[in-house]
Symmetry: C2
Subunit: 356 residues, 2 copies
DNA sequence: AGCTTACAATAAAACGTTTCACCAGAGTTT
DNA sequence: AAACTCTGGTGAAACGTTTTATTGTAAGCT
């Protein structure tokens, strides 16, 4: 019976007995409309449950309060938190977000980027799958892009990341200082820039300790098997340092399956601090990243770019905190207790950061 | 110098020396266009990096391959996983997704729903904040809605959820069978339907064991304090059963802080199985929800509705698996070992489910 | 009273697409 | 050869908005 179609501005105008232009003016808060007419329009809007059609509105006004967000994997708690913060901030500034995940696949990322372009976003925030991101950015795309967390091979992008090198170095120095003589460093892939930076940070920081690197890939059964083989071989390294969340999960589980216990058989530390790392006994020494602040900085930067601020690409490094816990006690089976070294607040480094 | 404006279909037409209608026909795979013209158009498209404007396309064609997704909290791994699966499925069917989170706030959910409406989605998948969802659904909204995970107070919606009652009951029966005489059940709030169903499932399943319920709210410092007080009071309950993810995290941490150990001081079980629950020692007995399948079912159902299938609202319950681990051994300090009761695959219940 | 100003409201154009009706020309049937 | 039917292509209308230019009316000046 009833015209079951979502109401348009025309229906509102009809019902209020005014022109569509007037309705539009009321809805957009133009001051040139009388109180009486405004009331009539608002009544009609309420009665019909009218909501503007964003597509049409955007098309005509050419003002697109919309930004695209691309992350490698939504199920990674780090990225989920990143997106969630971003969403909140965007809302405060009255922007909409289109979020997509690339499922850790470069090709899918390229595909998603092309698709997101169809939305005509005013800007983009991307955590790229790998360094070759620049090649995947579609041609003919003129909106500002802010990269986060991972560094692209090509220069020319705004970037917000953490001080991977120094933070990983701090863990390495800690292990070194606790008296460990050799440390195995495990990470998904050195082709991911922050893993690479962390590994380099480790190498730069160690004094006496011997370090070796093991790449196990991302979702790679083969890599998992290599890890297990190494953990079964003797002698074991004195300490294990895992460079990213996925790797930590895999490593910790593998150790448990094999029957290795932390810290009796080997010490263990992780880049990326997750909630459960305080729940296991002993707690796991970890680098905590200021993920919310990363989102805040990324948003602030993109907002500046979208509102016309030109200028050279900016790189910002945020400082990580190190949480020392029971998984890395003094080396020769001597109990060191739960020294809390963290607690200092995040702080933006003012100096430009140069990893080399 | 160069017209730095994102290319439109008109520019493509010009460049290819054809009409815009022809470009549109080529892009939409209409068969009535000669190979020669198609090539010219495709060349122009590639050279300009043209991508269709979704807003305009949708506006004209009125075919909106778009669905909105609303979840209470993106940082909850369950929901993140739900969204991620959904995103994948949508892509396969060539739909776009607009995802928003309500941050556990009913008012914000209402706001987000209104906003999402402006996108003119063809359908909605919602995990509602609470039972009063129906009141927040904007008027004049005619797209199909599929609810997931939580049951609304009002009838009339399609719903995909898990068998909260029986699953929680299975845990309760297990504790009962292990010889515990009293069990404290902790949950965020009985106003959330699945928490309520789980609690009712517990009460229905216990035979000899005495159970008491403690609500601690969601992000409620007051509730956390009540929990701590209870855990310091003696006598302790023999077992603790936590009914949702957030509560489990809080409870487990609180126990550790107070110095209570599982299972020596009390047994512990959780609804919602998280990765770390296998990593702590002993592992935590938990109900594992088929979250991916929930997403699959929700998507399949919505797709059917969007393609015109009418009919009465459907309710589906998916079966959970129970993972028995070391945190719930035989009662009087007797080691029960790590019996693995799970492993059966998820299975859709064919019978309509009635909680009463 | 005339003549300008100021204001409130509107008609119509425009945004980038898709779709519909139409057209020219070539082939096919009488 | 006239009358059809295809075939591949196009101009123009339409989608739901916002914006610009225009109109009509009332008030403020001489």
């Amino acid at each position: 019976m009833s015209k079951s179609r979502t109401p348009s501005i025309k229906m509102v105008a009809e019902r209020a007995g005014v022109s569509v232009a007037t309705v539009s003016n009321v809805l957009n808060g133009k001051p040139t409309v009388s109180a009486d007419f405004a009331r009539r329009v608002n009544d009609a809007v309420r009665e019909l449950g009218y909501v503007v059609d964003l597509g049409a509105s955007r098309l005509r006004s050419r003002k697109t309060q919309l930004v695209g967000v691309v992350v490698p994997d939504l199920t990674n708690p780090m990225f989920a938190s990143f997106v969630s913060t971003l969403e909140h901030l965007a809302r405060l500034d009255d922007y909409d977000l289109v979020v997509v995940s690339a499922r850790n696949d470069a090709e899918e990322e390229a595909d998603r980027l092309r698709k997101i372009r169809a939305w005509r976003p005013a800007g983009l925030i991307v955590i790229p799958c790998d360094g070759a991101f620049a090649e995947r950015l579609p041609t003919g795309f003129f909106a500002p892009v802010v990269l986060a967390d991972r560094i692209p091979d090509a220069a020319g992008f705004d970037l917000i990341a953490v001080d991977n090198g120094p933070a990983a170095g701090a863990i390495a120095a800690h292990l070194d200082g606790q008296g460990y003589r050799d440390c195995m460093v495990v990470g998904s892939s050195l082709s991911i820039s922050n893993v690479r930076e962390r590994w380099e940070g480790v190498r730069a920081a160690v004094k006496r300790m011997h370090v070796e690197m093991l790449e196990i890939g991302i979702d790679d059964a083969n890599g998992a098997q290599r890890l297990e083989e190494r953990l079964r071989r003797r002698p074991l390294p004195g300490a294990l340092f895992s460079l990213d969340h996925g790797t930590t999960l895999l490593t910790y589980r593998t150790m448990a399956e094999i029957g290795l216990s932390v810290p009796e058989d080997l010490a263990f530390a992780s880049f990326d601090d997750m909630e459960w790392m305080q729940l296991v006994a002993p707690g796991i020494t970890a680098v905590r990243q200021p993920i919310e602040e990363m989102a805040e900085q990324a948003w602030a930067l993109l907002l500046r770019r979208m509102t016309g601020s030109a200028g050279k690409p900016v790189t910002r490094r945020l400082r990580c905190a190190v949480e020392i816990r029971g998984s890395t006690p003094r080396s020769p089976l001597e109990e060191a207790g739960n020294v809390k070294l963290g607690g200092k607040k995040w702080k933006l480094q003012d100096e430009p950061y140069s990893p080399e």
